[in-house]
């Protein structure tokens, strides 16, 4: 699977550390996964497991300092040319050109992710101004090579010229045409997400819109430039339950129409069941299990995934205490070299507290990081110290 050429995003051995006064927090620890074109991958885990940091690393949005990309690469493949960019080592100009254009992001709380002092129209116009300057100039009937100020033809220079035109320049004859082109682009982006009366929404400020409407605006903004990959960081957590389904349907619908790959960051397993092609489970900064979503949900192999699924309350079961995984998430400041889940795991054996389990490839395009699936001799421990393998035989089907 890793050798196939049909991939869009490949995160390889990514580690992200945070320097804090109490020590180095290893928020993301040697994480690898890939996203294929048009695919939906769900990154699942509890709060603080590193899934949001992983998502932000893909756009190189982790603040440095205190954050630090300790190892790895985030490779993004251009589907047309096949050229590969490493977001972590590419020059900042290239990273910026990618953000919002080829990778876009929807944030958890649309009320916080929209600037309260700018109109919706202006916030969307920024995306077009940054990435679609030449196209808009052409639409406005201006030769982008000889832009309004007419100097350079380099894209970034044009963007600069255009930006000035969008927001500050009113006396030039061109500005009206450019404004009209921008307004058209913004309007069509808004109406694409099913926003009624886009003209009115354009001139509104975020606080004048409802939560669901704001998330629609965020989606419109994210999909404005038709990105190859959309990162949705818990896109419905901050919304009313009644609106959640509609927003997810909208994202799904946009994906079907445009063929965008989606990376969901979530802890909502029903979302995973409904929309995800593949699933990766994160625990304490590492991926512990991944594979086709429905398969993993049907027969989870890692004890953490099993615990997570068992914790879902179901209708029909008798009332009483909800199931939970015993113990709590370990501290990620200078963690010992052991399986992070060992302290909460019912299978835990001697070897689990001295070895970090690697992701083992398993039949059915699945991967699990648990010593139960490793050979005792390959990691050099006494077989009697290994966790029992008995239960897993029945689970693997």
């Amino acid at each position: 699977m890793m050798n196939s050429d049909d991939w869009l995003l490949r995160v390889e051995d990514l580690s992200v550390h945070f320097r804090t006064p109490r020590g180095v927090v290893q928020a993301v620890d040697h994480v690898s996964f890939e996203v294929k074109p048009k695919e939906t991958l769900a990154l699942v885990g509890e709060t603080g497991c590193g899934k949001s940091v992983t998502a932000r690393s893909i756009m190189k949005l982790v603040p440095e300092p205190p954050g630090e990309y300790a190892s790895g690469a985030v490779l993004l493949r251009n589907l047309k040319t096949g050229a590969v960019t490493d977001m972590l080592s590419a020059p900042m100009d290239q990273v910026r050109a990618t953000r919002g254009d080829r990778i876009a992001m929807i944030f958890q709380d649309p009320g916080k992710a929209l600037n309260p002092s700018l109109t919706i129209g202006r916030q969307l116009a920024e995306v077009f101004g940054e990435h679609r300057a030449a196209m808009l100039l052409t639409q406005a009937g201006i030769d982008p090579e000889k832009g309004p100020i007419g100097s350079g033809s380099i894209a970034s220079q044009r963007a600069g010229v255009l930006r000035r035109n969008f927001f500050h320049l009113t006396r030039r004859g061109h500005s009206r045409a450019i404004r009209a082109a921008v307004d058209d682009a913004v309007m069509s982006a808004l109406s694409d997400t099913g926003i009624p009366n886009p003209r009115k929404v354009m001139s509104s400020y975020p606080h004048e819109l409802s939560g669901g409407m704001k998330q629609r605006v965020m989606i419109a903004q994210a999909l404005a430039c038709d990105p190859d990959l959309l990162i949705a960081d818990e896109p419905t957590t901050a919304l009313d339950v009644t609106i959640q389904a509609r927003i997810l349907d909208l994202i799904n619908d946009m994906q079907q129409r445009r063929g965008t790959a989606i990376l969901y960051i979530t802890h909502d397993l029903s979302l995973v069941r409904q929309f995800a092609d593949r699933l990766a489970v994160m625990y304490a900064g590492r991926i512990v299990e991944s594979g086709p979503a429905l398969e993993v949900l049907k027969s989870p192999q890692h004890p953490y995934t099993q615990g997570l699924l068992a914790a879902i309350p179901r209708a029909g079961t008798p009332r009483g205490k909800l199931a939970a995984i015993a113990g709590s998430v370990p501290q990620l400041i200078d963690p010992p070299a052991q399986c992070h889940f060992s302290s909460r795991c019912t299978w835990c054996a001697e070897a689990c507290t001295s070895h970090i389990p690697k992701l083992i490839h398993m039949p059915g395009d699945r991967d699990v990081a648990c010593l139960r699936f490793e050979q005792a001799d390959s990691i050099g421990v006494d077989p009697s110290d290994m966790p029992s393998h008995v239960a897993s035989a029945e689970v693997v089907s």
């Binding site: 932000r56 756009m59 910026r96 919002g100 916080k112 002092s117 920024e126 995306v127 940054e130």
Partner: protein, 337 residues
Amino acid sequence: MQVKQYLIRRLALLPLIMLGVSVIVFTLTRFTGSPVGIYATPNMTPDEVAALEERYGLDEPIPVQYAYWLGGLLRGDLGWSGVSVAPVTDVIGLKMAATLELALFAALVAIIGGIALGTIAGVRRNKAPDHAARFFSILGASTPTFWFGLLLLIPFYLWLDWFPLGRSTPEIFDSIGHPTGLYTVDAAISLNPTAIWDSIRHIILPAVVLGFGSMAIIVRMMRSSMVETMSEEYVDAARAKGLPEKLVIKRHARRNALVPTATVIGLSFGFLLQGAVAVELIFRWPGLGQWVTGAILSGDQATIMAYVLVTSLIFMLVNLAVDIAYAYLDRRVVLGS
């Protein structure tokens, strides 16, 4: 529309507030004693003084005296200024223009410097520029104006003689017209390079000294609100759109950080008017501060009352302007509710 209505309502309230101010000013000033002192000479007999008091109506009950004074005020007669040896209304315009000019330039120094330094400090938090800005602002907030003024006067006036004292060189000042009363503006209008240079040379030092303290307050406020807005999600969202960091800071973080800073700016204008008293004395700036100092020392009550009335009017107008700026900066603010 909304702004216009709000403005009209606030301006309509202004006379009422001023009426209240006038009552307080008059009563408090009368507590300090009879104003007859400036008319009397030391060798007058008590009978002569009493005759004087009777002549000016000072033997009447206080409310009646207030009514006289208020009547004069409404007719545009603020009484006789003993220190200026002229009617208050004849002098106050000139004095006010001088102080207003000084305060405006000081405000310019404080606002531009404060916002710029505060922004840098907030963005580069806990780095060298931040430490420098914070040190600077503590210095500014804790340095007395008069002392800082002298500190600058000694090298720049005494040793180097770069900047002169006073507001202007009289011959140059008289050589141009004064449509606005603000020397720098009038000089700019007259397009007379000598006058422009003269006005700038005179105002730089006092404006810097007066603005320094207010700038310190603005730096601190701006820094902390920048730190706050820089960690807002919409700033990350702006980065995720691919905007250059400069734009992210300017359009997304700084714009929102200006909202709480605007309030501080309005309040600091009060400090400027207050600080102007010391600065005008040190730099021999012929404004309200110098004028009222003389009046206080000689018990010139008409001048003192006029001064308080005028400064409170200025302060109220500035804060009205800030309220409107506030609504412009923060779209969630609904004026008048």
